[in-house]
């Protein structure tokens, strides 16, 4: 693995950005023009007049989901190096099963706790 291997990644990123920008600009240049009016400059609510704020407050449940997502994401990230070396360590006789099972067990405990407390339940 060398740094040069990552050159295509950078090229691809630049290419993707250029394509997206080019399409947006082309669409702006070639697109028809129309004068704005009241109907096109107000939020679409199925023909009704706008009611209340455009960004109403939403449930705290979404926030809980995002927090739990970070925690389990980090857990997953810790397991990635383990799955990469699991068979190799096994073949040279280093038993890496029990430590990771302990780690996973602790986190399964957390998951069970979430379920018991109905933290994962969507409808409350």
């Amino acid at each position: 693995m060398e740094l040069v291997d990552y050159l295509p990644v950078m090229i691809q990123l630049l290419l993707a950005a250029v394509i997206a920008a080019a399409i947006l600009i082309a669409s702006h240049i070639f697109g028809q023009r129309a004068r704005g009016n009241y109907a096109s400059d107000s939020a679409y609510e199925c023909g009704m007049l706008e009611e209340s704020k455009p960004h109403p407050k939403f449930s705290v449940k979404f926030y809980v989901v995002a927090m739990l997502f970070i925690l389990f994401d980090i857990e997953m990230v810790f397991m990635i190096p383990w799955v990469l070396i699991y068979r190799e360590l096994l073949s040279v006789g280093i038993l890496s099963v029990w430590p990771i099972f302990f780690f996973l067990g602790v986190l399964t405990l957390g998951l069970v706790y979430e379920m018991k407390k109905k933290g994962l339940e969507w409808e409350r």
Partner: protein
């Protein structure tokens, strides 16, 4: 070429990090922070820490910032109010910043402080591998060698830290639900 890229990406990272602190609109701030995290991932790539770079994007830019955006949207803080910090906060921030800058200057000019030898590119465990003699390398497998032998204890402690955080999530969200007689029900709960 890598030198030029290093200056490019570090300028990007530092500039967007600076813009995070000065932007009035919280959503702008969050966007700059994502750019800053991605720039940092690019710096990790230049340091040949490819696995870390991917994790930086996956965890910080992809997960943590979603939570930030949720909070900004939940509180509808996008408009931005100017809150003047009190004197104590200002003084503490100034002292902390000065300490950080002086530390950075010290590290930069003290030649022996930061190791600058490139990492060896090895792809397998050395003969008679024990917990202490496993070297760091650039391949993603080598993170496992270190994490599951030498750094096993910190790894397990992290597991407990995550468990505590999970309990914290439940405690926090449950308290919000049961505060007051009529729970603070958002106006549109089923969005």
């Amino acid at each position: 070429m890598p030198d030029f890229l290093f200056y490019l990406f570090s300028a990007l990272t530092v500039l967007s990090a600076f813009l995070v602190t000065v932007s009035r609109n919280a959503v702008n701030g969050a966007m700059y922070m994502i750019v800053s995290f991605v720039g940092m991932a690019a710096l990790f790539v230049l340091l040949e820490a490819y696995f870390l770079a991917a994790l930086q994007v996956l965890v910080y830019a992809g997960a943590v910032m979603v939570l930030f955006l949720f909070i900004i949207m939940l509180l509808d803080a996008g408009k931005g109010r100017t809150v003047r910090p009190d004197r104590l906060t200002t003084a503490a921030a100034c002292i902390g910043g000065l300490l950080l800058i002086s530390g950075l200057i010290y590290i930069t000019f003290d030649s022996g402080a930061a190791p600058s030898t490139p990492l060896p590119v090895i792809t397998e465990l050395p003969e008679n591998a024990t917990a202490t003699n496993i070297p760091f390398t650039t391949s993603s497998r080598s993170f496992g060698y270190g994490l599951f032998t030498k750094y096993m204890l910190p790894f397990q402690v992290t597991g407990f830290l995550l468990l505590i955080a999970m309990i914290g999530v439940i405690v926090l969200s449950k308290r919000i639900d049961s505060s007051g007689d009529e729970p603070a029900k958002p106006r549109i709960a089923k969005s």
